[in-house]
C-alpha cells in the first residue's frame, strides 16, 4: 500500500493541511503547443499544476515552491481558447492586481489601451483602490507556475518523500475575508467619481479611435463582398455612422426580412364548394370526434388500471 508517485504523467505532490488531512497537487511540466508558444508561459520552466486549492493565492503557491526555486509568476485557470494577451512588460505589481476580483472591472479597458498603441496617448483610468484579497475559484482547477530557471522545474517535479505543509499568506480568510471584501467593495465616493469619469474619458477616446479606424465612413455606402450596397436606415438628420442612404426599415435591418404585406392569403378554393368536400369535412369531423372519444376512453382505462377510481 503506497501512494503512486505519479499518475497519468503527473507527479503527485502531497500537501498537508493543518490537522491530519492531505491535499494532492498534480504537477507536470508545461508544454505549450507550437502555435502559441508565447513568452508568457515559456516551455522548460513552466510548471502545470492541477487541483489547486480553491482559496490558493499566488503568494501561497510561491511560498510552497520556494524550496525549488524562485517563481517568476503564477497564472490561474488559463483558458486554452483564449489567447493570453499578457503585456510583455508586465511588472510584479501589475500581476498582483490581476489576481484581485475588484480589479477585474478595469482590467479590460487597460488591455484595450495597450492594443491601440497609437498616438495620441489615451487617457489613463484611475483605478479603484484595492486591498489584497483572496479570490475563491472552483475546486479542482489548474494553474501555471513560471520559474526563473529550468532547474527549479525539475526540483519541483521530483517525487516528494514527505507532504509539504500548505503555507498561509497574509490575505485574510474566513470571516475576516468577508468583512474585508465587504469594505473594499465600498470605496470612497471621490475615488468612484474619478474612476468613473476617467473610464468614460477612455471610452470616448476609444470611440473616436474606432470611428477613425472604421472601414466605413459617414456618408459612404456599405458594400459587401459580392458588391452589393446595403441601403440602411438613416440616423439623426439622415446620417449614420458608416452607413448609406437611410431607407431600410428597422425590421429589415434586424431580421433581414421584408414585411409581408398581405399576411393572410385568400385560399384558392372555397372550402365547401363541392358537395363531396362538405361530406368529407363532416366525415372528418365525426372521425375526429370519435378519435378524441377513444383517446379519452383509453386514458380512463389506464387510470382504472392503476386503481385510481377507488375513492376510499
Amino acid at each position: 500500500m503506497s501512494l503512486p508517485s505519479s499518475i497519468a504523467g503527473f507527479s503527485v505532490l502531497p500537501i498537508s493541511y493543518t490537522g491530519t488531512s492531505t491535499h494532492y497537487l498534480y504537477a507536470r511540466s508545461h508544454t505549450g503547443s507550437k502555435k502559441n508558444a508565447s513568452q508568457t508561459l515559456p516551455d522548460g520552466r513552466t510548471l502545470f499544476l492541477v487541483n489547486v486549492p480553491p482559496d490558493a493565492t499566488e503568494r501561497e503557491l510561491v511560498l510552497l515552491f520556494k524550496g525549488c526555486g524562485t517563481v517568476e509568476k503564477v497564472v490561474f485557470d488559463l483558458d486554452p481558447q483564449e489567447k493570453l494577451v499578457e503585456p510583455d512588460d508586465s511588472d510584479e505589481e501589475e500581476e498582483d492586481e490581476a489576481e484581485e476580483a475588484v480589479d477585474e472591472t478595469e482590467e479590460q479597458p487597460r488591455k484595450r489601451r495597450k492594443l491601440s498603441k497609437t498616438k495620441p496617448q489615451p487617457p489613463k483610468v484611475v483605478p479603484l483602490p484595492s486591498k489584497p484579497l483572496r479570490r475563491l475559484r472552483a475546486t479542482g482547477r489548474s494553474a501555471h507556475l513560471v520559474f526563473l530557471d529550468a532547474s527549479s522545474l525539475e526540483r519541483a517535479l521530483a517525487p516528494q518523500p514527505k507532504a509539504r505543509p500548505w503555507p498561509v499568506s497574509e490575505e485574510p480568510s474566513g470571516v475576516a475575508h468577508y468583512a474585508a471584501l465587504f469594505d473594499s467593495l465600498r470605496p470612497p465616493l471621490d475615488i468612484v467619481r474619478t474612476h468613473a469619469d476617467s473610464a468614460m474619458e477612455l471610452f470616448e477616446f476609444e470611440l473616436k479611435q474606432t470611428k477613425q479606424q472604421s472601414k466605413y465612413r459617414k456618408g459612404e455606402a456599405i458594400v459587401d463582398e459580392d458588391g452589393f450596397t446595403l441601403v440602411t436606415r438613416g440616423g439623426a438628420y439622415g446620417q449614420t455612422l458608416g452607413g448609406g442612404v437611410g431607407v431600410a426599415s428597422k425590421k429589415f435591418q434586424e431580421s433581414g426580412e421584408t414585411r409581408t404585406r398581405n399576411k393572410k392569403k385568400e385560399p384558392l378554393q372555397k372550402a365547401g364548394f363541392y358537395a363531396f368536400q362538405k361530406a368529407e369535412k363532416q366525415r372528418n369531423d365525426l372521425m375526429e370526434l370519435k378519435k378524441n372519444w377513444e383517446a379519452d376512453k383509453a386514458k380512463v382505462e389506464k387510470l382504472k388500471a392503476s386503481r385510481r377510481f377507488k375513492p376510499y
Binding site: 500500500m1 501512494l3 499518475i7 503527485v12 493541511y17 491530519t20 488531512s21 492531505t22 491535499h23 494532492y24 498534480y26 492541477v50 486549492p53 482559496d55 476580483a101 475588484v102 472591472t105 479590460q108 475563491l136 475559484r137 472552483a138 475546486t139 479542482g140 489548474s142 480568510s173 474566513g174 470571516v175 475576516a176 468583512a179 471584501l181 467593495l185 465600498r186 465616493l189 468612484v192 474612476h195 468613473a196 469619469d197 473610464a199 468614460m200 471610452f203 470611440l207 459587401d224 446595403l230 440602411t232 433581414g256 365525426l286 370526434l289 370519435k290 372519444w293 377513444e294 379519452d296 376512453k297 386514458k299 380512463v300 382505462e301 387510470l303 382504472k304 377510481f309 375513492p311 376510499y312
Partner: protein, 1205 residues
C-alpha cells in the same frame, strides 16, 4: 339508465343511419351493422345497469387497439355527444362511469345475504311472545341473559303504571337504500347497511304512548327481546350489537354482522351488515297530530302549571318510527321517474363521504351520522320541486331527464345557495302540508321536510354543520366552474379525502368536554334531545354561534361518528373530545369590538342577557359618535394576535358557560405558528422600548420618504428620475420577519448576533435619453457616475443619511453585467440598495447573444463572437431580465395580493419559514417562487383579481382565511404537486402582459419546477437555479412528513415547533458554526440568545459597532461553498440564522475514476493494493482534504465538522 331510456326513443333512427353509411361504403359497414345488432340484442334482454356496462364494453373492444378507421355509428355518436353535453366533458363522464361500480355492492356476493335474510325472517317470526310486565322487571330479566334494555330518558321508574310486552312482528320489510339498489359504500371501510324494518304489532301500544318516552321504552324492550331471540338462535351465526345514530339512545337499532364460517348464508364477503329497526305500523293507535313540531310531549313533574314547552326533536325521533316504509316508496318512485337518480345519489354521497358528512372513523361533521336518507330527500326536492309555503316563490322542479352529473351539480347548487337559517324547504307533496309550515321553522334550526310532509329530515342537525356543507358545496362548484385542465378535477371532487381539519378550517380548536359543567342546563332541553351529552354539544354549538355572530361563515363541530356497542351496554358512549372548526369571514372575523344593546335600551332584559352572555367581558363604553353602548372589547398585544380573536371568543364562551378552566381542555395551535415568525423576545424588547417605527409599515414609510428625497434631487441630476420601484420582500409584506431598522443608537443594546440589517432592493429608472453610451461596459461605468452623483446629493440634502456606492458583489467579475448599486442607510436606520435600469442593455446583450450587429447583412469578420463572451452575455441577460423586468412587476402583483387576501402574506411568511428551516430556501428555492406558489391557492383562476376589490361580491370559499389553513394548504400542494407537469398561476389576473423571456440557452440549468404566470410562460424565471430533481423530491418528502405531523391535530398531539425542526441525519457531513459570529442568529428557529451583556444596565462594549447592511458571513460562505464545490457536494442551510450547514457528497465521486486535468473536484490518488499492480491512474474524492478546506474557508465561523456515516 338514462342512456337506456333514451335509446328506446332513438331505436328507430339508428338502423336508418347505418344503412346510409353502408350505402357509401359497403365493405366497412358490415362489422358496424353487426355491432349495432349486438347492441340491440343486449337491449332485448337487458335494461338494468349492468347491461349498459356490457354494451359499452362491446363498442369499446371494437374501437380499441387499432385506430378508428370508420366514422362513428349513430349510436356511438349519440353517446359521445351526450357525454359532451350532459356531463362536464367526455373524460368526466367516463371517469364517473368508472367510479360508480366501485362504490356499489358486488352483485355476485349478494346471494348469501338473501339466504341469511330468509333465515333471519324465520327466526324473527318464530320468536316467542313475552307477557306484559313492568318495564324494570322486564329489564332485570333480560340483564341476566347479558342484554341491557336501552331505555332512554326519562327512564321508567318503579311506579310506572304501564307495561312492556313482546309479540312476534306483524311485518318485516327491507327498507332504506338496499332494496332500492342505491347503496353507496361508506368511508373507512364501513359496511353497506341492509336495513330491516320490523313492524311492532299495534296491539302493544296505547294512544298515550307518545308521552314521556313511553313509546321509546316499549321499542327498547322490543329491540332487546329481538336481540335475545337472535342471539339464542342456532341457525344464525352473527354478532349482535346495538348502535345509536348520533348517539341518541332513542334511535338505537340492532346491528347483525356475520361471523366468517363459510356457510351458505355467510355474507362476510359482501362487506355488509344487517340493521334491525323496529317501526310502527300505519294503523298504530298513536295519533299523528300529536307529533307536530310544536307539541309538547314530555311532562316534567313539578312544573305542571307552566306552559308546555314544545319538544320538536323528541317528536321527530318518534316520527322516524313511522317513516321507513313511506321513504322506501317515495324513493322508489323517484328512482323510477328519474333514470339518473341512482347515479346522482351515488355521486352526491361519495362527495359527501369524502368530506365527512356521514359515518367514519376520522373526524365527521356532527349531525350527519345516520342521516343517509337526507341525501335522497334532497335530490327528491330538486327533482319534484318545492311545496309552496303560502307566499313567496317556490322552487321549480327540475326535469327528470337530467344526467347524473347535472343532478349532482344541481344539488351542490342548491346547497351552496340555500340559506337554511332563514328558509325552510319542503318537498312537494301530494296533498299539501300536514302541519303548518311555520311550526317547523319556529322549532327547528334547519328544515327540510320530506314528501309525506311529516318528518323534518334535518331535525337535530346543527346549523353550523349546514353552513360547512354550504361552504364545501361552494368550493366544489368553484372548482367545477374553472376551465383549468391542469389540475385533476375529478380526483379533487370525488377521489380525494377532504376531511383534514387543517386545510378545511381557518381555526381549529380541540375541546375536551369531560370536565364541562354547563352554567345553565335545562332539563327540558336534555329530554328533548335525548341524552345529556348531546344536549351539551348542542348548547356548545348554539352559544358559539351566538358569540361569534357574523365573524364566521361556518362553525362546525366534529367528532368521530357513533359506533356499535355490546348488548350489555344500554346507552351509547359519547365522545369526550370534540373539534370546533371555524371558517372566518375575512371582513368581520378580526373585529376588536362587539357592540351590544345601547345603554338607553328600554327593555332591561336585553342588556341583562348580553351581560349574562359575556360575563365580566361586557362593559359599558362611550364611543366617539356619542353613543353609549354595551360592548365587548378584545385586547390584543400585537398585530399577530388579531387573528386570534375568533379563537379567543370560543375560549371565553367555553370558559364562561361550561367552566372549562383547565388550559389543556381547550387547545388551539395558532400560538405555535405565530412564534416561528416572530423575533425573539430579547430583540423585540429593545425596539418596543425605543419607540422606533418598525414593521412593514415602517419599512414602507421609510421607502416612500426616500423616494421623495430622490425625486427632489432632480435639479442636480443630468437626467430626471422617471420611476422608482421596490423589489424587496420587506416592502411587499412577505419577508418572514417583520422588518426592523437598526439605528446607530440601538445597535449597542442588541446582542452581537442580532444585528443583521437587511438591505431592501429597489430599481431606479431615469428618463430616456440619447446620451447613454452604446456600449455595455461604458453603461456600467456611467451607472457608477450616476450613483456617485446621487450619493453626494442625497447626503447633502438629508441629514443623517449615509450613501455608499457598491462597485460589485465580489464574486461576479463579468464587466458587461449590471453589478454596481447604491447603498443607502437612512437616518432611522433602514437600509436600501438601489440599482439603475437602462433598457438599452437588453438590446445590446441580445446583439451579443445572437451574434448580430446593427447591420446583419454585412459580415464583419473581425467581430466573430467568442463562445465565452456569448456565454457571459447570456448570463448577464438572465440577470437583467429577472432583475429589471420580472422583479418589479412581480413585486407589484404580490403587494396587490396582500391587500386582497388577508391571509396571503402570513401564509407566505410561514411557508418561507418552513422551507428555510428545512434548509432549502434561498439556496435552492427562490423567495419569489415561494410567493407565486402560495399565491396559487389564493388566486384560483384569477378571474376575480381584476374585479375592483371595493365592490367584490363574495370571497371564494376555497380561499384560506388564516395563515394556518393557508400553510396546510400549501403543504398539501407541495405534497401532491407533480412538478413535472408545471403549475400555472394567474398572478396578474389573467391579463396578457409582455412575456420577457430569459435567453433559452440559459434554460438548461438544474431547476425542475415550472411555475408559470402570464408574464412568464416558461415558468423558469424564478426557478432556473433550483430546486433540482433531488431537492424537489426532498421537498416533496418533507411536505409529506409535515402533512402527517399536521394530522396529529386529530389526536391533539401536534407540536407546531416540531414541524420546523430539521432532521439532519441524512447529511453526509454537517458543518457547525459559532453562533456568536452569526449576525442573524437571533432569527434561528430555536435560538438561545443571551438576554443581555455582562451588565444589564450598560450597553455592551464587546465590539465596535460597524454597521454593515446585508452583511451575513454565513450566507456569503454558503454561496461560496455552493459555487466552489458545485460538482462535489450539495449543500443546504437555513438562511435565517442557521448555525449549521448540511451537505451530501455527489455519490458518483465516491467511485475511483480516471484522472483528468479538468476533473472539477479535489481528488486523491487511489492507493495501490500492492507494488506489483499496474498504476491505473485512478483518483477518488479527497473527502478529508475538502473538509479541511471548508474549515479554512470559514475560519472564524466554522467551529467543527461532523461527518455522519
Amino acid at each position: 339508465m338514462a342512456l337506456n331510456l333514451k335509446r328506446k326513443h332513438d331505436g328507430d333512427v339508428e338502423p336508418r343511419k347505418t344503412r346510409k353509411l353502408s350505402d357509401d361504403d359497403e365493405s366497412d359497414a358490415v362489422s358496424e351493422t353487426e355491432n349495432v345488432e349486438q347492441d340491440e340484442d343486449n337491449e332485448e334482454w337487458g335494461g338494468i345497469a349492468p347491461t349498459q356496462d356490457q354494451t359499452t364494453t362491446v363498442t369499446d373492444s371494437s374501437g380499441r387497439g387499432t385506430k378508428p378507421k370508420l366514422p362513428p355509428t349513430g349510436e356511438e355518436l349519440r353517446v359521445i355527444n351526450d357525454a359532451k353535453d350532459l356531463f362536464r366533458s367526455s373524460t368526466f363522464k367516463l371517469q364517473i362511469d368508472a367510479l360508480i361500480p366501485n362504490v356499489r355492492p358486488k352483485a355476485s356476493r349478494i346471494a348469501p345475504l338473501d339466504r341469511f335474510l330468509q333465515a333471519l325472517h324465520g327466526v324473527l317470526m318464530a320468536s316467542t311472545p313475552v307477557a306484559p310486565q313492568h318495564p324494570l322487571d322486564a329489564a332485570r330479566k333480560l340483564i341476566k341473559k347479558g342484554i341491557a334494555v336501552p331505555y332512554c330518558l326519562p327512564q321508567p321508574s318503579e311506579d310506572t303504571n304501564w307495561k312492556v310486552a313482546f309479540e312476534k312482528p306483524s311485518d318485516i320489510t327491507m327498507v332504506g337504500s338496499w332494496p332500492n339498489k342505491i347503496s353507496v359504500k361508506g368511508k373507512d371501510g364501513s359496511k353497506f347497511g341492509v336495513d330491516l324494518a320490523v313492524e311492532m304489532p299495534s296491539n302493544l301500544f296505547q294512544e298515550k304512548d307518545y308521552l314521556n318516552g313511553r313509546f321509546f321504552h316499549k321499542r327498547a324492550f322490543y329491540l332487546a327481546t329481538l336481540a335475545a331471540a337472535i342471539q339464542n338462535s342456532k341457525s344464525l351465526n352473527v354478532d349482535v350489537t346495538y348502535e345509536s345514530a348520533s348517539n341518541d339512545p332513542r334511535l338505537t337499532k340492532l346491528v347483525l354482522e356475520p361471523r366468517k364460517d363459510e356457510s351458505p348464508n355467510d355474507f362476510t364477503k359482501l362487506n355488509a351488515r344487517v340493521c334491525i329497526i323496529p317501526i310502527l305500523s300505519a294503523t298504530s293507535p298513536i295519533p299523528l297530530h300529536r307529533l307536530s313540531p310544536s307539541h309538547s310531549n314530555i311532562r316534567i313533574s313539578g312544573d305542571s302549571d307552566a306552559a308546555p314547552v314544545p319538544t320538536p326533536l323528541y317528536n321527530s325521533a318518534l316520527l322516524t318510527a313511522l317513516m321507513p316504509k313511506t321513504f322506501l316508496l317515495s324513493t322508489f318512485a323517484l328512482k323510477e321517474n328519474t333514470p339518473s337518480f341512482g347515479d346522482a345519489l351515488a355521486l352526491l354521497r361519495v362527495w359527501a363521504n369524502q368530506r365527512g358528512y356521514g359515518e367514519g372513523s376520522r373526524m365527521c361533521v356532527r349531525g350527519f351520522d345516520g342521516l343517509g336518507s337526507w341525501w335522497a330527500v334532497l335530490l327528491g326536492l330538486l327533482v319534484s320541486g318545492e311545496e309552496s309555503k303560502g307566499k313567496g316563490t317556490k322552487r321549480k322542479p327540475l326535469g327528470k331527464g337530467l344526467s347524473s352529473y347535472q343532478l349532482f351539480r344541481a344539488a351542490l347548487d342548491f346547497l351552496s345557495r340555500h340559506d337554511f337559517e332563514k328558509e325552510a324547504a319542503f318537498q312537494r307533496t301530494k296533498d299539501g302540508h300536514r302541519f303548518p309550515s311555520e311550526e317547523y321553522q319556529a322549532h327547528h334550526e334547519a328544515v327540510l321536510v320530506d314528501s309525506s310532509s311529516t318528518l323534518n329530515v334535518l331535525a337535530g342537525v346543527p346549523l353550523g354543520s349546514l353552513q360547512l356543507l354550504q361552504n364545501d358545496a361552494r368550493k366544489t362548484l368553484e372548482k367545477l366552474n374553472t376551465e383549468s385542465i391542469g389540475s385533476d378535477l375529478f380526483a379533487d371532487v370525488f377521489l380525494k379525502e377532504q376531511r383534514d381539519l387543517s386545510t378545511r378550517f381557518d381555526t381549529v380548536i380541540r375541546v375536551d368536554l369531560s370536565s364541562a359543567k354547563p352554567r345553565f342546563s335545562s332539563l327540558h332541553l336534555t329530554l328533548d334531545i335525548g341524552s345529556p351529552a348531546n344536549a351539551l354539544i348542542s348548547s356548545v354549538a348554539a352559544l358559539l354561534r351566538q358569540g361569534l355572530g357574523d365573524r364566521t361563515k361556518a362553525i362546525a363541530i366534529l367528532h368521530p361518528s357513533s359506533s356499535t356497542r355490546p348488548l350489555s351496554q344500554a346507552l351509547p358512549t359519547n365522545p369526550d373530545v370534540i373539534y370546533v372548526g371555524l371558517i372566518h369571514d375575512p371582513h368581520n372575523a378580526f373585529r376588536l369590538v362587539d357592540h351590544g344593546p345601547a345603554a338607553d335600551e328600554t327593555d332591561p332584559a336585553i342588556a341583562e342577557s348580553f351581560r349574562n352572555f359575556w360575563g365580566d367581558k361586557a362593559e359599558l363604553r362611550r364611543f366617539k359618535d356619542g353613543r353609549i353602548i354595551e360592548s365587548v372589547v378584545w385586547d390584543i398585544k400585537s398585530a399577530d394576535e388579531r387573528t386570534h380573536v375568533p379563537a379567543m371568543i370560543v375560549q371565553h364562551v367555553l370558559h364562561r358557560h361550561f367552566g372549562l378552566e383547565d388550559p389543556l381542555a381547550i387547545q388551539s395551535w395558532q400560538g405555535g405558528f405565530d412564534e416561528v415568525v416572530r423575533l425573539p423576545e430579547v430583540v423585540s424588547r429593545v425596539y418596543t422600548g425605543s419607540g422606533a417605527v418598525v414593521g412593514f409599515k415602517g419599512a414602507m414609510q421609510a421607502f416612500d420618504g426616500l423616494v421623495k428625497e430622490l425625486k427632489g434631487l432632480n435639479e442636480e441630476m443630468p437626467l430626471s428620475l422617471a420611476s422608482v420601484s421596490a423589489i424587496s420582500e420587506q416592502l411587499r409584506y412577505t419577508s418572514v420577519f417583520s422588518p426592523v431598522p437598526l439605528p446607530k443608537s440601538l445597535a449597542p443594546n442588541l446582542p452581537q448576533n442580532a444585528r443583521y440589517l437587511p438591505s431592501m432592493e429597489m430599481i431606479l429608472q431615469f428618463e430616456k435619453s440619447a446620451k447613454w453610451p452604446d456600449d455595455l461596459r461604458a453603461i456600467q461605468k456611467i451607472k457608477l457616475a450616476f450613483f456617485e452623483r446621487i450619493a453626494s446629493a442625497l447626503m447633502t440634502a438629508v441629514k443623517g443619511l449615509k450613501a455608499t456606492v457598491v462597485v460589485g458583489d465580489g464574486v461576479n467579475t463579468v464587466d458587461i453585467q449590471d453589478s454596481s448599486r447604491l447603498e443607502i442607510i437612512t437616518a432611522d436606520g433602514w437600509a436600501f440598495s438601489a440599482r439603475i435600469w437602462h433598457d438599452r442593455e437588453a438590446t445590446l446583450l441580445d446583439r451579443l447573444i445572437t451574434g448580430k450587429n446593427a447591420f446583419p447583412h454585412i459580415n464583419f469578420p473581425s467581430e466573430k463572437k467568442k463562445g465565452k463572451e456569448q456565454q457571459e452575455a447570456v448570463d448577464a441577460k438572465e440577470v437583467y431580465v429577472r432583475r429589471f423586468i420580472h422583479a418589479p412587476r412581480h413585486h407589484r402583483a404580490i403587494a396587490a395580493l396582500n391587500h386582497r387576501f388577508v391571509a396571503y402574506s402570513p401564509t407566505v411568511r410561514l411557508v418561507k419559514r418552513w422551507l428555510a428551516s428545512h434548509w432549502v430556501l434561498h439556496g435552492h428555492v427562490s423567495e419569489e417562487a415561494v410567493e407565486i406558489l402560495c399565491a396559487s391557492i389564493f388566486v384560483g383562476d384569477g378571474r376575480d383579481l381584476t374585479v375592483d376589490p371595493e365592490n367584490q361580491v363574495d370571497e371564494r370559499a376555497s380561499v384560506p382565511g388564516s395563515k394556518e389553513r393557508g400553510f396546510a394548504t400549501v403543504i398539501e400542494l407541495l405534497k401532491d404537486w407533480k412538478w413535472e407537469d408545471g403549475l400555472f398561476v394567474p398572478l396578474y389576473g389573467g391579463e396578457a402582459i409582455g412575456n420577457a423571456e430569459i435567453p433559452p440557452s440559459a434554460s438548461s440549468r438544474a431547476g425542475v419546477w415550472r411555475i408559470k404566470t402570464e408574464g412568464d410562460r416558461d415558468g423558469r424565471v424564478w426557478t432556473l437555479h433550483g430546486p433540482d430533481v433531488m431537492v424537489a423530491q426532498r421537498i416533496r418528502a418533507l411536505a409529506k412528513a409535515t402533512w402527517n405531523c399536521l394530522h396529529g391535530m386529530e389526536e391533539g398531539k401536534l407540536d407546531v415547533k416540531s414541524i420546523f425542526i430539521h432532521p439532519t441525519d441524512d447529511y453526509d457531513f454537517v458543518v457547525r458554526m459559532d453562533s456568536a459570529a452569526l449576525p442573524r442568529y437571533a432569527q434561528n428557529i430555536d435560538s438561545a440568545l443571551a438576554a443581555g451583556g455582562k451588565y444589564a444596565n450598560l450597553p455592551r462594549e464587546d465590539s465596535p459597532t460597524v454597521l454593515r447592511p446585508g452583511f451575513d458571513p454565513a450566507r456569503l460562505l454558503f454561496d461560496d461553498l455552493q459555487r466552489v464545490y458545485a460538482d462535489t457536494f450539495k449543500i443546504f442551510c437555513d438562511p435565517f440564522g442557521g448555525d449549521r450547514f448540511g451537505a451530501v457528497w455527489d455519490p458518483t465521486l465516491k467511485q475511483p475514476r480516471a484522472f483528468r486535468v479538468l476533473g472539477g473536484f479535489s481528488g486523491a490518488p487511489v492507493k495501490k493494493e500492492n507494488e506489483k499492480e499496474k498504476d491505473k491512474g485512478l483518483v477518488v474524492l479527497n473527502e478529508a482534504g475538502v473538509l479541511s478546506e471548508i474549515e479554512r474557508l470559514g475560519g472564524g465561523l466554522v467551529c467543527g465538522i461532523t461527518v455522519q456515516v
